[in-house]
């Protein structure tokens, strides 16, 4: 493997300028609305310097510290998913002429190339899954594909996981192991830069970096190791399909349903959830119509509705669907678990339901009734 | 049967093109109005009572629901009253954003009233869609201005009816420059529309009806009053808003759910004409020039100049909103911290239809102990009845019923009465009789 280069912190703007000059719109983390969210980045000073996040199930607060670090927080409410799998988008447009003839046209925007900086290992793992789902299954999704082709990823190895993170237990982090163009390790005074693709190599060459000394690499490695070591939550390893389905009548499903709001937040923040629904938006004059797709969730009644029946009418069944899919069925569909250990569903659940805790209870011996 | 002994009873069972539900009953006996009742039968909604015990932060969301046409006014008067009670001062920049918010409401409400409710009267149409056939450009201009007003409110409140952005102490959030840039552009483009609107309203065939009345409006030291802490009248009143109850009274009449207002026991006028009559000198020079070009002089005693006054305020709102957005008032936090306490406070702002006065008493934990709200339409109600008597007399009581009815409706609509606020408006019953 090539030796990482060293980018002094003051030169981070060089990277941003380079990206912009190469035609990318640069998206990165910013402090807004009380959280670290992904927005357009103008300059390195837009990044959340000295910001860390204190979080637990259903709550988080941003803490300001006296530190130059710009990536010393775990992950924001969203990262790559909304960039590629849009929360709402138009799929096709149809015009109707005076004779009632229809002409269909795909809504074909050519997206601008986007560079996202600050991507975490869990997000990359989730991206791999979405690539499998949207690009490599029987049908390829052209909308996702177009955006994916124009995406450049600048990953950052995680050094400050939240208490809700458990990527170490799913094997997806905290170190990014591939699928990025550039990888950064953040140190006090700058970044180690590793390239992971030809495009990344070009960028890194253009930055003309000096190779990082061993000592620096060692500090970075240790920081990531520590980030793995401090994680306390875990998921049981392996394919849980059979075990979960064996426990399909476990009383815990009802118990969790007493707390669950069936609001769908966990699915919306989950970087691997992919459900969507479609509907038409028609102007009043009725001369055209736009067919749209938007995020849906297995926690809605519409998700399992067929005429005259909501198959999963009870919250108990909806939660069971989510969890058994994520940790069970997923293995059969994608060859791995649907959870990358990002902890978002725990953090952003308004009532703090914790997937790791629920699985832990469910995995105890089945209770027969 | 001799003509002079005729007795007529006119009933307008439901007044159309007014906001809310009301009726008008007139009895004419021997060329004399013997009975005239503007009946507001919007059922009482008892807002003042159910505010009791509510947290002060809930007040803006609840009082907005008194009136869908001027929710900003309700939110702003309430905010002012509660901020006074809690002795907090909002920063000047927040105040500027509130003025902008208010500009949106004036623009929306006035454009709606001029085009959808009032102008059809003067041009002989029943509705705006009818009028659009003959005056498409004018109607479209009006709709554009109305939309601009709505969009300003949306900028600060997410929606124009019952907006959600305002709170006691400021706003929940304020827009960034890139969010309002397109709006600023549209505002600049609207100056011409608004100027043309003023001239157009001045050119409408408005009846000539000079009357004697007392105008009441807020006095704002810094400009044309939307906010202000003193109330002035054309008869020399000059009081702090807290003193309102000492001078103004409300009384109930048996035929109406809206309480009638009196200043020292006599009817008075609030709203655009009253404001312009008292504060025209405070308008920017550029607006005054447009007024001069109309040939109409304010103060005016012609009640029908209300529509022109409204158009002038549209122009003012467009200019004021442009000024504010160009200055881009910067704030550190959109809302100041509030420390509730047991106290009382009054607030009064200029709703599109005139002064809207609120007073709250609070408990130590910030909950409302009592509330009093005096909306503009109930203040105008006695004045409308007085005007109707004069106007119909001047119009000629011997005219046939449809003409009398239309004229009466025109007079009433001219006030842009908002019966939803007043609680709500109009069904006309004219009774004529001979002895």
């Amino acid at each position: 493997m090539e030796r990482p280069g060293f980018l002094p912190r003051q030169r981070l703007d060089d990277l941003l300028v380079l990206l912009r000059d190469s035609g990318y719109r640069v998206i990165g983390p910013q402090l807004a609305e009380g959280a670290v969210v992904y927005r357009d980045i103008g300059a390195a000073s837009d990044l959340p310097a000295g910001v860390t996040v204190e979080s637990g199930p259903g709550s988080m607060r941003v803490i300001k510290q006296d530190s130059p670090r710009q990536f010393a927080w775990a992950n924001g409410p969203q990262a790559l998913k909304p960039r590629l799998f849009k929360p709402a988008e138009s799929l096709w447009q149809v015009q109707r002429d005076a004779q009632g003839r229809l002409s269909f046209a795909r809504c074909d925007e050519t997206p601008q190339a986007v560079a996202v900086i600050g991507v975490r290992a869990c997000d990359l793992a989730a991206l791999r899954i979405h690539d499998q789902h949207f690009l490599e299954s029987e049908y390829r999704d052209p909308y996702y594909a177009r955006r994916r082709e124009r995406l450049l990823l600048v990953a950052v190895n995680c050094t400050d996981p939240a208490t809700t993170c458990f990527c170490a237990s799913t094997g997806d982090g905290p170190a990014a192991s591939g699928d990025y163009d550039l990888l950064l390790d953040e140190l006090e005074d700058g970044f180690l830069v590793t390239s992971g693709s030809p495009e990344g190599q070009k960028l890194s060459a253009a930055l003309a970096l000096t190779p990082a000394p061993d000592a620096r690499c060692e500090v970075a490695r240790a920081a990531v190791e520590r980030a793995a070591a401090v994680q306390t939550r875990r998921l049981p390893p392996g394919d849980l399909f059979d075990r979960l389905f064996a426990h399909r009548d476990h009383p815990r499903w009802s118990e969790v349903a007493n707390r669950c709001l069936a609001c769908g937040n966990c699915t919306q923040v989950c970087p691997t959830c992919f459900c969507s629904r479609e509907r038409d938006e028609t102007p009043l004059d009725g001369a055209s119509s736009v067919h749209q797709r938007e995020w849906d969730s297995c926690f809605t009644e519409g998700h399992s509705y067929i005429h005259g029946l909501v198959i999963r009418a009870e919250t108990r069944q909806r939660y069971r669907q989510w969890l058994t899919h994520k940790l069970g069925s997923w293995h059969r569909q994608f060859g791995r678990s649907g959870c990358v250990g990002c902890g978002r569903c725990i953090l952003w659940c308004p009532v703090g339901i914790d997937i790791t805790e629920e699985v832990h209870v469910l995995m105890q011996e089945p209770v027969h009734d | 049967m001799t003509e002079s002994k005729r007795e007529v009873r006119i009933k307008v069972p439901v007044l159309t093109r007014v906001e809310g539900e009301g009726a008008l009953d007139i009895a004419i006996h021997d060329q004399e109005i013997t009975e005239l009742r503007l009946r507001i039968f919007e059922p009482p909604r008892l807002f003042e009572k159910f505010l009791e015990g509510r947290d002060y932060q809930e007040v803006p969301d609840l009082v907005a629901r008194i009136c869908g046409i001027c929710p900003v006014a309700y939110q702003m008067s309430a905010a002012q009253a509660l901020e006074n009670a809690f002795a907090v001062e909002v920063p000047a920049a927040v105040h500027e954003w509130r003025r902008l918010f208010y500009c949106g409401e004036w623009l929306q409400s006035h454009a709606l009233h001029i085009h959808l409710l009032a102008a059809p009267d003067f041009l002989g149409f029943n509705s705006v869609t009818e009028m659009a056939g003959k005056y498409p450009a004018e109607v479209r201009r009006g709709l554009r201005l109305q939309a601009l007003g709505n969009d300003i409110m949306e900028l600060l409140g997410a929606r124009s009816v019952h907006p959600v952005g305002a709170r006691i102490g400021g706003f929940h959030s304020l827009p960034t420059a890139n969010k309002y840039a397109p709006l600023l552009q549209r505002l600049r483009d609207a100056h011409e529309d608004a100027r043309a609107l003023v001239l157009w309203t001045a050119g409408l065939p408005l009846p000539d009806d000079e009357q004697d009345f007392c105008s009441v409006a807020l006095h704002d030291r810094t400009g044309y009053g939307m906010y202000g802490d003193r109330l002035i009248s054309s008869e020399g009143l000059n009081i702090a808003i807290e003193e309102y109850p000492q001078h103004f009274s409300e009384f109930q009449v048996p035929y109406s759910t809206a309480l009638h207002g009196g200043l020292h026991g006599r009817p008075y006028l609030v709203g655009p004409l009253a404001r312009l009559n008292l504060n025209a000198a405070r308008l920017p020079r550029s607006v005054q020039e447009v007024i001069e070009a109309t040939g109409i002089r304010f103060p005016s005693r012609n009640m029908f100049h209300s529509i022109v006054a409204r158009a002038v305020e549209v122009l003012f709102a467009v200019q004021e909103a442009t000024r504010i957005l160009e200055a881009a008032p910067a704030v550190d936090v959109p809302c100041v911290e509030i420390r509730p306490r047991a106290a009382a406070g009054s607030g009064c702002t200029e709703a599109p239809r005139g002064i809207l006065w609120h007073r709250y008493e609070t408990q130590g934990d910030g909950r409302i102990r009592s509330a009093r709200i005096v909306p503009p339409t109930s203040q105008n109600q006695a004045r409308i009845e007085q005007d109707l008597r004069n106007a119909l007399q001047a119009f000629g009581l011997d005219r046939d019923e449809p003409a009398l009815r239309l004229h009466a409706e025109t007079v009433i609509r001219n006030y842009d009465p908002c019966i939803s606020c007043a609680t709500h408006f109009l069904r006309l019953n004219i009774k004529r009789s001979t002895t």
Partner: protein
């Protein structure tokens, strides 16, 4: 790998009202190339798009050997189907498809075939019946069972009579609740199994209908020695995309639109009949 497409324009060329709430539309793709290259398998479905209203999955009931006559039978149940119910010849709609995997026609060759349907006009199996009967000599005995809740719900009397007339073909009808005119069986469709002269062990069953009926029938067939790989079901789930991406049709680890809608019992045994899956 195919790209997820957009609808093709289709024209309604004929309409038949089967009952007050059931009607069939014959469609023709307007574009000549699309029309010529369109092929489908019995059991597959199309996504039909009603202009400005929505897109719904509907089985193709035509004959796969005559793909230019694309037939669909609709039951008017809700928003979109009610809109479709108003279409007349000449009207245009959108069509995406075909989607899904069809019935196991190959596996049915040279074997006894049992077709069980429940509910009103079970469209997905009609093309199979047509196909099997068109190639009558390639199959063993054939039995067609149809169950309805109420005898008045029974449609396609003519078709059933025609099928009944085929050689070595049994057609049996059951109604849970029957009017005085009813000449068929009174009771559940599963009650007809004992009247069948079929080789349950080596034959193949294709079934579609309400969940409880299929669960009960599947159970009884297993008891009669049928292997779980010889009992096939057509399932219904909410579908938005039909290409396995929207997630709505998930059934355990299956995507019904892509992996089904037709499944052998063996593949779904662990899920079948469980409420809320």
């Amino acid at each position: 790998m195919t790209e997820r497409g957009i609808p093709m324009e289709a024209e309604v060329v004929a309409r038949v009202d089967e009952s007050p709430t059931i009607f069939s539309l014959s469609l023709k793709l307007v574009d000549g190339d699309q029309h010529d290259s369109y092929r489908f398998m019995p059991g597959q479905f199309n996504m039909l798009y009603l202009y400005g209203v929505g897109e719904i999955p509907i089985s193709i009931v035509g004959d796969p050997d005559q793909p230019d006559l694309l037939q669909h039978t609709f039951r008017t149940v809700g928003r979109v189907t009610r809109g479709f119910a108003r279409l007349q010849p000449g009207d245009r709609i959108g069509l995406r498809g075909p989607f899904g995997r069809g019935w196991p026609l190959e596996a049915a060759r040279n074997r006894d075939v049992l077709i069980v349907t429940g509910g009103l006009g079970c469209a997905p199996v009609v093309p199979v019946i047509n196909h099997v009967l068109n190639q009558r000599q390639q199959h063993g005995r054939v039995a067609i069972l149809q169950g309805v809740k109420h005898s008045d719900d029974f449609i396609w009397r003519g078709r059933y009579e025609q099928w009944d007339a085929e050689p070595d073909t049994q057609v049996l009808l059951a109604a849970d609740v029957a009017g005085p005119e009813w000449r068929g069986y009174r009771g559940r469709v599963t009650g007809l199994f004992e009247k069948l002269e079929l080789d349950f062990v080596n034959g193949i069953t294709m079934m579609c209908g309400p969940g409880p009926m299929m669960t009960a029938a599947g159970q009884q067939l297993l008891e009669r020695g049928a292997g779980p790989d010889r009992i096939w079901f057509s399932l219904e789930r909410n579908m938005q995309c039909a290409v396995g991406q929207c997630g709505h049709c998930q059934y355990g680890e299956k995507f019904v639109c892509r992996d089904g809608p037709v499944f052998p019992y063996a593949d779904i045994q662990h899920l079948f009949g469980v409420r809320g899956i």
